[in-house]
Amino acid sequence: MRLPRAHRLCAPSLRPLLAKELAEIVSGRALWTMLLLACPLVGFSFVQAVALYSEASAAALQSPVLATSLSPLDGILVPTFGAFYLAVTLLFPFVAIRALGQEKETGALRLLVQLPYRSSTLIIAKLAAVLAAWALVSIPALSTLAIWAVLGGHLALSETLNLLLGHLLYGLLVGAIALLAATISDNSATAAIIALAVTIGSWVLDFTFAGRSGLSAWFAQLSLTQTLRSFEQGLFSAGLVLGIMAVVCGLAAVASVWLPPGIVPRIKLVRSALCVLVTVVAIVIASQIREAVDVTEDQRNSFLPADQRLLATLRLPLAVTVNLAPEDPRYVDLQRNVLAKLERAMPNVSVVFAGGRRDVARKSPDDAYGTIEYVYGNRSDVSRSTSPREILPLLYALASTQPPASAAGAEYPGYPLVASAEATWLWFLGGLPVLIVLGWSWTRRPPRIPASFVEGGPP
């Protein structure tokens, strides 16, 4: 009846573990409750977004110039998925915590850790289940893409996929935080408090330190919401993706350190510190990767293609000294319209931030405030402009290069659409919730029990 020893030492199959984790998370009510709550939340955002987009489109249909500013990414996808982001931030921790919390509370964890799996394997399996749960809870948001297409709306594949990737990574990050919280907490309630303190604390960071400089700006960058910004702007940043993955792996590693009982806290703390150290190193390395691809259809994060090509040939270092306070709207314009694009287009750009807070109490104004100095090679020039139309010629002059001929390329046409999404309430408040309830009851159906299992009756 017992297995031979050699047989026992074989590596156990991951399949039953993954199936168990998936079944556990799907059988919980938290997942289905979140799905039901996401329906009206996402639905409301979508209907509102379509209404606003239609209003803007009505005017744009008369004017092609106005139409160019109508992008479904900004008008529909970002606000609709913004509601999904809200649901993930506030509700998804409860779903993810269940992956471990119930095992802790019922004592099943004491059986689980005795199975022939490494702690890291157990955590990875749970993270995989959390990922599957994220895929399920994203159904309402994903359904808006189909509805938008049915309404006749335009979807650019690359920017849509990029946005989905951003939300996937954000969901994974929230799931990993929740899993770690569940690992270090005695019960699910404490874990939820810890996880929400981190996710909602991110908002506090955002609000408190928005537009600040120095250490405050560094703190603001720790906010989880920062992870989505780049994807919402249509940038695929390899460094950001690697950085998020490093944090997820770091959280999973610390969770696997704290999962097994029977190890004294001192050893767990030392191992956790090592994990944190490795994660920080990985984040620093990832932050050095500055490659970012502009995946937007309107190439909003790039100069015109001819300028991009010419700027890429300017090999000497370009030093930009900005005399603006970070909260100054001109700096925000400059950063978005010029500096971010330059950093992506030119091989060697350094930006020095010379503008501190402007002292409004000073009677004599600082003449240098508002100037931006560009030094290319041994030549320099100063400008107050934040527009690429003035700065690019300045740079070409510094580099003694002729500006590229303005090519009459295919301009972004914009995608105005006048439509009403009111009818989709039937889907978000009727069809989809019914499907969710049916899905929930399907997961609760009794399993098919092999005949051999039931043949043996009670003694």
Binding site: K20, R110, Q114, F453, P458
Partner: protein, 246 residues
């Protein structure tokens, strides 16, 4: 049973040896210098009143609690806590594993982790009489059937030593006798058992030897006859011996 015990006494190799195991909770001593051994096929009972340290001893042995001092040896070699699951499997008391899943799914999960065939899983289900509740969710199981589920899980594990905390809790006399028979059958195949039992009559039914634990300290170790000899009480029951020794 005596013949069985004698037969097992002839097995010289110690499967498990525990030396000076000590565990404190803060300043409170939960178990102190516990030393004993276990031979293959033996059923060892840990008996003692509530708070004697039975569960702490089992959890420390299984590596689920960090010991303050002491060592565990498996076939002569020290077995560090992280390797205990290679030789020992512990079934805790009061666990309702995966409450929202069906009993059949839970048994199948543990069986498939250890690559057990459907026939092997069915054999364990039949052995403990779990079949009538396979289609029920674990949260809906009675205390007795939940205990059967745990025992079925334990029987599916391949470890040489099975540690069980209060394995008969929730069973009536007839069911207890049946599970005793199941354990004895497994032990006859060479598997060792350590059972923490506070019902002394149950312990007397199933165990070959006893560790009498009180206040975290071992008060006596031996077979029933050896304990009788220690106390000079011929024909005394385990209950009487326990009262005399603790």
């Amino acid at each position: 049973m005596m013949a069985d015990i004698c037969a097992r006494d002839a097995i010289p190799a110690q499967a498990l040896r525990v030396a000076n195991l000590t565990k404190r909770y803060g300043h409170e001593l939960a178990i102190s210098d516990v030393t004993f051994s276990l031979v293959p096929g033996e059923v060892l009972g840990i008996v003692g009143p509530n708070g004697a340290g039975k569960t702490t001893l089992l959890e420390t042995l299984a590596g689920l609690l960090a010991a303050d001092s002491g060592a565990v040896f498996w076939r002569g070699k020290q077995l560090p806590p992280q390797c205990r699951r290679d030789a020992l499997f512990y079934l805790p008391d009061g666990v309702k594993p995966y409450q929202d899943r069906f009993a059949a799914e839970v048994v199948s999960f543990f069986g498939s982790v250890y690559n057990r065939s459907a026939a092997e899983i069915a054999a364990r289900i039949a052995a403990v009489g779990l079949a009538p509740v396979l289609g029920k969710r674990v949260r809906a199981l009675s205390k007795g059937y939940n205990r059967r589920l745990l025992i079925a899980i334990g029987l599916l594990t391949p470890q040489d030593v099975l540690l069980m905390d209060e394995p008969f809790d929730g069973f009536d006399l007839r069911q207890t006798r049946h599970i005793v028979e199941v354990i004895r059958n497994e032990a006859a195949k060479g598997r060792s058992f350590m059972l923490a039992i506070h019902q002394l009559a149950d312990a007397e039914r199933v165990c070959d030897r006893f560790i009498l634990l009180a206040g975290g300290q071992v008060r006596a170790i031996g077979t029933l006859d050896e304990l009788r000899a220690q106390t000079s009480r011929r024909g005394a029951s385990l209950e009487e011996l326990f009262l005399a020794l603790t």
